[in-house]
Symmetry: C2
Subunit: 427 residues, 2 copies
């Protein structure tokens, strides 16, 4: 099952080219996805809602650049034609009136929105039923569990998700695909269920870095593509972070292998330490997150306390106790940390750092830790999970490339370069 | 009609005290509002939805500090028990599942949510049917037309609205009440229909500055009340802005009277000029606004172009043509302007500047200009419209107090001081 799923992963760029060059009709591209869904969905459980007929219909009538390309939408984005439930019993059967901005933009590009993918409860930590396509005994990560798993299982070439802590980069790392959390503000958030508005960031999933860059370029109209020729070797700052003691043996080895292969392929790699201010920013993330979540989910907490998980209830209750002064201070600290990190990033092209503490956790009780993601989310920097390496039990390990604010093109280019280096060495 | 409405304006603080000291049962406070609604709503048309029975019900069973206090909710905030239509035919009859965060918080304080107040289409410029309670031949201003008019007509003591350009301060000025646009981020926006997320700011309406400060203190848990004793005379920076040629005779005179009365009561008033960077920030506002609106309303524009006004359609179409580089630059300019203005504000306590070019426009075709509001919204600064002065045809003119970011207490205190000075001189 694991190998089969991996082998059938679809490159969105390859599919788009096949459709454009009339090697494949758009409906055939959708049917390929439907075949993969039929084969893998019973075990992977990536979707909470599927609409194959609508996906085929869209492929037949669309004229946009993504015609025939199936996209999975994390079930925290409103959809006008499918229920939106945030994996919460409070919203069972809830049918929004409108599409979220990002969903409407994807439809406008001609894509086939094939279904809503499983999220943890309100994109926080309580997991859904999704399993890891590499091995169903492992978690796919979260909170964008279904989006990452659907791409990894070859059920869709593209998916969207969100990251407030580590919800794009972590599941991409655990599933062995590319996850891209853009600079804060790059992708529109209207119609996205808020968790912590200062941190919530829409993100993308695809097989390769070039696929995700292609998708991002279409969605934003920005020059983000990295498929047009060879990328130069970047100057990389290696950041083990002050949580290095928390990484597993696979990640320790993986990061060293990635750095060594990068050097061998012409990159400059220098090890950098986190500034103290960045270290302190870790606690700012939690303060901002919990304070804002207690406001964002005020109605749910007030009207349906019995339908919330204990985990989220505790967070919302803690959030209410945070003094306004602490919240203001956390926002100020985050702003200060953004200046410091910009300085540090000016000496290199990008950072290389773990995407997660290691391989996916075993079992489905936990979607894993966002320890290696939260601070980058807070700093609003573009992050890419680069797939390719594997650890224990042949499970994926993810390398994270982090770039300067708004320099997403440079970040994606460095990630594509590293992906290429890793692939060559492993083939 | 005009005089009658003005005379029956309700101070929220006075009402709360009357209820707390058992001088009035909560239901009686609600019934007083219902009486005013019966008397004035046929001409003022402040509400698109009213639920007197629910308001009375809440007053009977609530235990919070706002029991018996009626609040009007601008129809851009989701309500779980009343339709939410954004004054757009696209959303006719739309019933959200949840309350917006701010609505849920208001309910949690025990208030009676009596109805949804008229907004312009999507809080942009196309007006609703609301008239000015001072004289129905005049516009109430917009986009929070119904919220300002409902307070001015004595139909509710408190209301909430939003400001993306000038939609809180302007209608408050035209209707002759207090409007308060807090520092960006003070009030939660989850469940608020997005127009331009970097600018959209929730705001409050009440009769006096002390009432709006009391309401804000309850909503945020911040020390914002200004009703506890005498405020010291502030150091005021008088800013005529580079749009001074656009103000009418009433405002020219009004601002000079306000400054003179302030000096006579012990304030220091110095005239300040806008920095060039602040002047340039005006154009940043439009770029950010139109770019973001075209994303926020992507679904409406794509699926229901025939149901949008020409005005908003043109804005959305223009927004789509704005290059990403211009948007990025506008955001960077706004960030720079925020630093400059912080420096300028450090030499005084607050700015005194027009709330609008003058009295309300005659007729209902236009809700007036946001020329004197947009830059403050962009700068994320707390603004208060101070009522009291009147111009031609006895229509209100509004004085705007603007304070430093996050120093809302200082801003409200200076506004309360000025309101007091104006009232004394006019009595």
């Amino acid at each position: 099952m694991a190998k089969q799923a991996q082998n059938s992963m679809q490159s969105a760029l390859d599919l788009v080219q096949a459709v454009q060059q009339n090697e494949m009709v758009p409906q055939a591209a959708v049917e390929m996805c439907l075949g993969a869904i039929e084969a893998h969905e019973p075990i992977v459980k990536a979707f909470c809602c599927l609409d194959p007929a609508m996906a085929l219909e869209a492929a037949m009538h669309s004229t946009g650049p993504l015609k025939g390309i199936c996209v999975a939408i994390k079930d925290v984005f409103d959809t006008a034609d499918m229920p939106t439930e945030y994996n919460s019993p409070i919203y069972r059967g809830y049918q929004p009136r409108a599409d979220a901005s990002l969903v409407s933009t994807i439809r406008g590009l001609g894509a086939s929105i094939i279904g809503k993918s499983v999220t943890t409860e309100f994109a926080f930590f309580s997991p859904g039923p999704t399993t890891n396509p590499n091995n169903p005994d492992y978690s796919p990560g979260g909170s964008s569990s279904g989006s990452a798993a659907a791409v990894a299982a070859g059920m869709v070439p593209l998916a969207i998700g969100t990251q407030t802590g580590g919800s794009v980069i972590r599941p991409a790392a655990f599933c062995g695909i590319t996850g891209y959390k853009p600079s804060f503000g790059f992708l529109p958030k209207s119609g996205l269920k808020n968790l912590s508005p200062s941190l919530d960031t829409a993100g993308l999933f695809a097989t390769h870095v070039r696929d995700v860059a292609f998708f991002a370029a279409l969605l934003t109209g920005r020059r983000l593509r990295v498929d047009g020729g060879v990328q130069g070797a970047p100057k990389i700052g290696l950041i083990k972070t002050h949580h290095w003691a928390d990484v597993d043996h696979d990640m320790q080895e993986g990061l060293e292998i990635a750095a060594r292969l990068a050097v061998r392929s012409g990159a400059t790699v220098i090890e950098l330490n986190f500034d103290d201010i960045i270290m302190r920013a870790f606690s700012s993330h939690q303060i901002i997150h919990d304070y804002e979540a207690s406001r964002a989910l005020a109605w749910e907490h007030r009207e349906h306390p019995d339908k919330l998980s204990t985990l989220i209830t505790e967070t919302l209750e803690f959030g209410k106790t945070i003094p306004n002064a602490d919240y203001d201070e956390a926002l100020a600290q985050a702003a200060e940390a953004r200046k410091i990190i910009a300085d540090q990033l000016s000496s290199v092209d990008v950072f290389l750092t773990p995407s997660a503490p290691g391989i996916a956790p075993k079992g489905l009780a936990s979607t894993g830790s966002s320890l290696f993601n939260r601070v980058w989310t807070l700093l609003h920097l573009p992050c890419v999970n680069v797939p390719g390496l594997r650890g224990s039990n042949d499970m994926p390990i993810g390398m994270q490339i982090v770039g300067p604010y708004l320099e997403d093109r440079k970040t994606l280019a460095a990630a594509a370069w590293l992906e290429n280096v890793l692939r060559k060495s492993l083939s």
